[in-house]
């Protein structure tokens, strides 16, 4: 009798642990799928934004026009936002790799170009969005044609903010525990210089000693 109860107990324990294991495996699988899904969505979003980078200036100083800023961990450009997320028109957008408690994060923010003030860093309509975190290390790099018209090598800094690069690359290495890889994302910028409507006025409010009369 005792034997039967012991066997039954063993059986129950076995069945329970079996179910537990399968539930755990399932959750782990689901998490992995979720992460793959997230990487895919983020890559698609970045591709969407980066291909549409507009050759429109967002700031002007006496020395320089700013159309595209690119560093190893920071990028600022002008592009349209998806229609349902905005008021339409060009938005000044930034992508940054920020170090936080969950490793590095890829953070996106967008502010309407109309009324954008570089110095004030006007608060964007939405809070910056963390696109993906648990990044171990990462970098942005840029590529353009050299003087001879040949494709120059990738560089992690973009020197001339008054022109846009031909290609932008986002390389991320995920943290060890993240169980997922980030496929290298290299995106061609489709819009050529000249895509912007020729502007008779050059954002005079951003010039020094100007009271902001261009509105």
């Amino acid at each position: 009798m005792l034997m039967a109860i012991m066997l039954l107990g063993l059986l129950l324990a076995g069945a329970y642990s079996g179910i537990q294991t399968s539930v755990r495996a399932m959750h782990a699988g689901e998490r992995l799928i979720e992460r793959i899904d997230r990487v895919r969505t983020v890559q698609e979003f970045l591709r969407h934004q980066l291909t549409r980078i507009l050759p429109i200036a967002y700031a002007q100083t006496e020395a320089k026009t700013y159309m595209f800023e690119g560093e190893r961990d920071f990028m600022r450009f002008v592009a349209p936002m998806p229609g349902y997320l905005s008021h339409g028109g060009p938005y000044v957008q930034t992508l940054a790799l920020v170090r936080g408690s969950n490793g590095m994060s890829l953070v996106f923010s967008g502010t309407m170009l109309n009324g954008f003030d570089w110095k004030e860093e006007k608060k964007s309509e939405r809070e910056p969005v963390v696109l993906i975190d648990h990044i171990g290390d990462g970098s942005f790099s840029y590529r353009a044609l050299d003087d001879q018209g040949q494709l120059a090598p990738w560089s992690t800094s973009w020197d001339d903010p008054s022109i846009t690069p031909l290609l932008v690359r986002v390389e991320l290495t995920m943290q060890n525990g993240a169980q997922i890889n980030w496929p290298v994302l290299a995106v061609p910028l489709m819009l050529d210089a000249g895509a912007a409507h020729p502007q008779p006025v050059v954002i005079p409010r951003l010039l020094p000693n100007n009271g902001g009369t261009s509105r």
Binding site: M26, D37, G89, P90, M190, A195, V201, S214
Partner: protein, 304 residues
């Protein structure tokens, strides 16, 4: 207690089997649902792969359109009046529609009358249409004085918006959504009819898409459809059987087209996955990227 009943072992003999069966059933349900999730994931991956293929097939349509628009053989040259062209590229069916931008309404040039009739043509009532037209004029003019129904900074502030009019020409067509009174739904309706690249005050009826054609004076939807149908039957270099005219009798002359085109390419893979590329290009010259054309507007993979 009943469990010490001598008959108990006989009565409960199958309990282990039942338990095992239940455990197996439970695990089967769990694993089955997981398999379903994994399968959905696989389908999604497959779809992304197909969508990328379709996207590049659609891009091939754009390249082909550039080639055909400059075809040395006049009789073979593609006409930019929105007529459909189809070809097969790498097993995908690619259909291309090209519209000369001169057939659209230029948001930076069109006067309020033209803009009002544009809004009326998509079902906006007269008062709102007039207000929108004035607001657009106020958006692009450099002054801060509102027109009769228009809007300058004060009106935007009153409406609770954090921005005012740019007081400069539109930089992209989608910017018109920022104009006071506009919304995404309305923008979607007028989008096929508007441009910022033609520079002419009225759309050229020889190339105008339906949405722009029906904004012309005295035009009805049926008449506009008829014009498009007859226009598309005309072959390059040959006048049609009967000359086309507008409702007021003005003949439609196929000339004056610019070098700026909007090209809409749809690629459909054999398995039914499709994507649309909607781009505006300007022919002529070689850009910094080495292409023999300049891309002015680029929308791919969006529902349109």
């Amino acid at each position: 207690m009943t469990c010490f009943n001598a008959k108990w072992p006989q009565r409960q003999r199958g309990v282990a089997l039942v338990l095992v069966l239940r455990a197996i059933a439970l695990m089967a349900v769990l694993l089955g649902s997981f398999a379903l999730i994994a399968h959905t994931e696989q389908l999604e991956s497959r779809h992304v792969f197909d969508a990328v293929t379709a996207r590049y097939d659609a891009q091939a349509g754009l390249e082909r359109a550039v080639f055909e628009l400059r075809n040395a053989d006049q009789a073979q040259r593609w006409i930019a009046d929105g007529r459909p062209y189809e070809f097969v590229f790498d097993k995908a069916k690619v259909s291309v529609e090209i519209n000369d931008e001169s057939g659209k309404i230029d948001l930076n040039v069109a006067d309020q009358t033209m803009l009002t009739s544009l809004f009326i043509s998509v079902g906006v009532e007269l008062d709102r249409a007039a207000a929108l037209a004035d607001a657009i004029a106020d958006w692009r003019d450099p002054d801060d004085l509102p027109l009769a129904n228009g809007a300058e900074v004060a009106e935007y502030k009153q409406a609770g918006l954090a921005y005012g009019p740019r007081n400069a020409p539109f930089q992209t067509t989608s910017e018109v959504q920022q104009v006071l009174g506009m919304d995404y739904e309305l923008y979607r309706k007028i989008e096929p009819a508007v441009t910022i690249y033609s520079g002419s005050a009225t759309p050229n009826p020889a190339f105008a898409p339906f949405e722009a054609l029906r904004t012309l004076p005295n035009m009805t939807d049926d008449f506009a459809r008829q014009i498009i149908e007859l226009r598309q039957q005309m072959l390059p270099g040959q006048p049609g059987a009967q000359p086309l005219t507008l409702p007021d009798g003005t003949p439609i002359v196929v000339n004056g087209g610019g070098l700026t085109y909007s090209v809409k390419c749809r690629a459909v893979l054999p398995n039914g996955v499709s994507t649309v590329l909607d781009a505006s290009i300007r022919l002529g010259g070689v850009g910094t990227t080495g292409r023999p054309y300049t891309i002015l507007r680029w929308r791919d993979g969006e529902a349109s």
